[in-house]
Symmetry: C2
Subunit: 393 residues, 2 copies
């Protein structure tokens, strides 16, 4: 079972944060150069045949258009085709997915994916999130991200008895992990009490239930699976690629306690990879808010519906637990630069599966890791990717 | 020779124009429904497994982000994965290319591509083109499209003796073709004298040397080549896919009389399809300005460098000529809604190669057609696609 067409042979990311001192282009360059330098046996840039850039708003090039062409120029590869993908919060993951399709199609042997986002260079009013819904008849009515996720939390609390304390445990876990990750925006452990006493954003979400706004970039180099050993003895293969949507208006959704797009994307990825949640050693999931991670546990099959709160209470998703989730610190601690987030999650899996995650390393047994990225208008878009050290086919 | 992985089995577009009475969503819906209705043996929408949306600025959803998820919802396919691609002027062509990669990868059997753009709903200051370069240290200095293309024209005139009259002949030809195309924005023939006397935009470009700003949408349904005959007896196969970039700053370019990205993309597409320019029955090329079409002739190998002006003078690229170029009227007459343009060019080729282009039909002999879409920051991005009625492999 399992797909065996595409392998990751190098990844790189810059430390996330409020990077006022780095231009958009400098972030992209640095992530790319780090990915290139990470390839065990080296990779000549001239081998790179195509690129994909995941970005929601490339600030330095105006508020509207960047076009993939900029990626080629910025990294010194003018000449190669480059596609810009934009897909809300899972933008980076979808850029990675399209790059995988490019390699699997047989058209390209070696390709580059970069995800990058500037979230902090503009005022809140002029910000990406502030303008994303401008002019839309429904979305512009104050429907910021916390306001969209809050009712999911209250409904989950109502139906399943999920508590504010259980949600806070997600922040405690992920900030604890983030404190061990040199790439994380916030590197300071927090306590349940600190989470519960942090300022209200939108009931039932306090400030520490929310991920920060963060600048960052991440990159990956993908090759045809059968060529991977030219570049490394330890390639990480793409075993499963799932992506799905849901109705984009909150009022159209069948349930507030599950994200249908996640469930569908996970089914695709598990089926393609030929694995179940029990086979996973590690997962990087979309914890834009603490409640989101608890719902992801359920949607991804880590536990039964409604049991997310109990799973975090039992400590099973922390480092040392049965299935460590977000050893990187997740979006809550590492930050969430939209276009970069998905690629950064995949970079973390690459390091974890290769045993290179130093102070935040999970135990690798089966050699499978899962990445999950959620968002888009109406929380209606999800990507699930499964990486593995095991060769299939 | 030749690729044989992907077939087009249906296309649709809405008549282009200033569509103040249609929302962005209504344009997308209509193009999709027309593509669906065009499939000879029918196609159940539930067979569509993935979508790609080419769009630079989806106005109704704000000035920044649409995310592919909207495509799924708007066409009643919530659930399927949808990617938004943005890549400047060749946005629609690149969406089509990524959709082809998706089918060729083996992951999807049936996919949808929609290209759409609203160019007229906002003021010039707030427009897509007006804002595209905002904040950029170089591009924001008044470098609008005519200002970028004008020096290519003056240099071509200087080096090769290309004349204003030769450029005007492109407008005369394409507006003549457009008058026969019910999908065209402008449907009125023009004379050389009218072109030369139209208001100056930027020397040596008069108003009728420039394409208009136009709203529009176009769609295509792609399937695995070996499944095509389920849907039609007359599929049109994707034989070649080329895309390339150039240095994105004008000052970095090696020449002003050729577009390096076009040359590279064409080489890729011809090689993949196993054909030469002599094998083409028809071409839809990027005539954003009259000079661009003359340069395309040279870059695409329709004539030698510097001979573009003579080629149009000899009438070889008009309907009835050796190689009709832009029988649709091209961007000059049909219009140029960025995300839609490339998909609309491919729709025209589909109709032409199937003999369905009515009053603007070319003579089909070899069964090959070429599509070319150019642009992006610094005129540094080109896509060339070759379609054919011939089955390869």
């Amino acid at each position: 079972m399992g797909w065996n067409r595409v392998a990751v042979v190098g990844v790189g990311m810059i430390p996330f944060g409020e990077l006022f001192d780095l231009s958009y282009e400098a972030m992209v360059q640095e992530a790319y150069l780090r990915a290139l330098a990470s390839v065990d046996r080296g990779l000549d840039p001239r081998e790179i045949q195509a690129g994909w850039l995941g970005t929601c708003r490339p600030l330095a090039h105006g508020t509207e258009t960047l076009a993939g062409v900029s990626l080629a120029g910025v990294v010194g590869l003018a000449g190669i085709p480059c596609t810009r993908v934009e897909n809300g919060c899972p933008t980076g993951s979808d850029a990675f997915r399209n790059a995988c399709l490019g390699v699997a199609s047989g058209l390209y042997d070696v390709v580059l994916v970069v995800g990058a986002e500037k979230m902090r260079d503009k005022s809140t009013e002029e910000s990406l999130l502030g303008r994303a819904t401008q002019g839309h008849p429904v979305f512009q009515r104050g429907e910021s991200a916390p306001i969209t996720f809050a009712p999911q939390a209250t409904r989950h609390m109502h139906e399943y008895g999920t508590t504010k304390e259980q949600m806070a445990l997600v922040a405690v876990k992920n900030h604890g992990h983030g404190a061990r990750n040199p790439y994380a925006h916030h590197r300071r452990p927090v306590t349940v009490e600190q989470v519960l006493r942090s300022p209200w954003v939108c009931y039932p979400l306090n400030l520490l239930d929310c991920c920060p706004q963060t600048d960052g970039a991440a990159a990956a180099l993908l090759v045809r699976a059968d060529l991977a050993e030219r570049y490394t003895d330890r390639p990480v293969y793409v075993a499963g690629l799932g992506m799905a949507t849901d109705h984009q208006y909150i009022v159209e959704k069948a349930s507030f306690t599950t994200f249908a797009a996640t469930v569908r994307a996970a089914q695709q990825a598990y089926r393609m990879a030929g694995v179940t949640p029990a086979d996973l050693d590690v997962a990087e999931v979309h914890d834009c808010f603490t409640i989101t991670e608890l719902m992801n546990y359920e949607d991804l099959g880590f536990c039964a519906p409604g049991e997310g709160g109990k799973l975090i209470e039992r400590g099973e998703t922390g480092l040392g637990g049965r299935l460590p989730v977000n050893p990187s610190g997740g979006l809550l601690a590492k930050g969430h630069p939209l276009g970069a987030s998905g690629v950064a999650q995949l970079a973390e899996l690459y390091w974890q599966l290769r045993g290179e995650a130093a102070g935040r390393q999970v135990e690798v047994r089966s050699g499978y890791g899962l990445q999950h990225n959620l968002g888009g208008t109406g929380i209606a878009n999800a990507v699930v990717t499964i990486l593995t050290t095991r060769r299939h086919g």
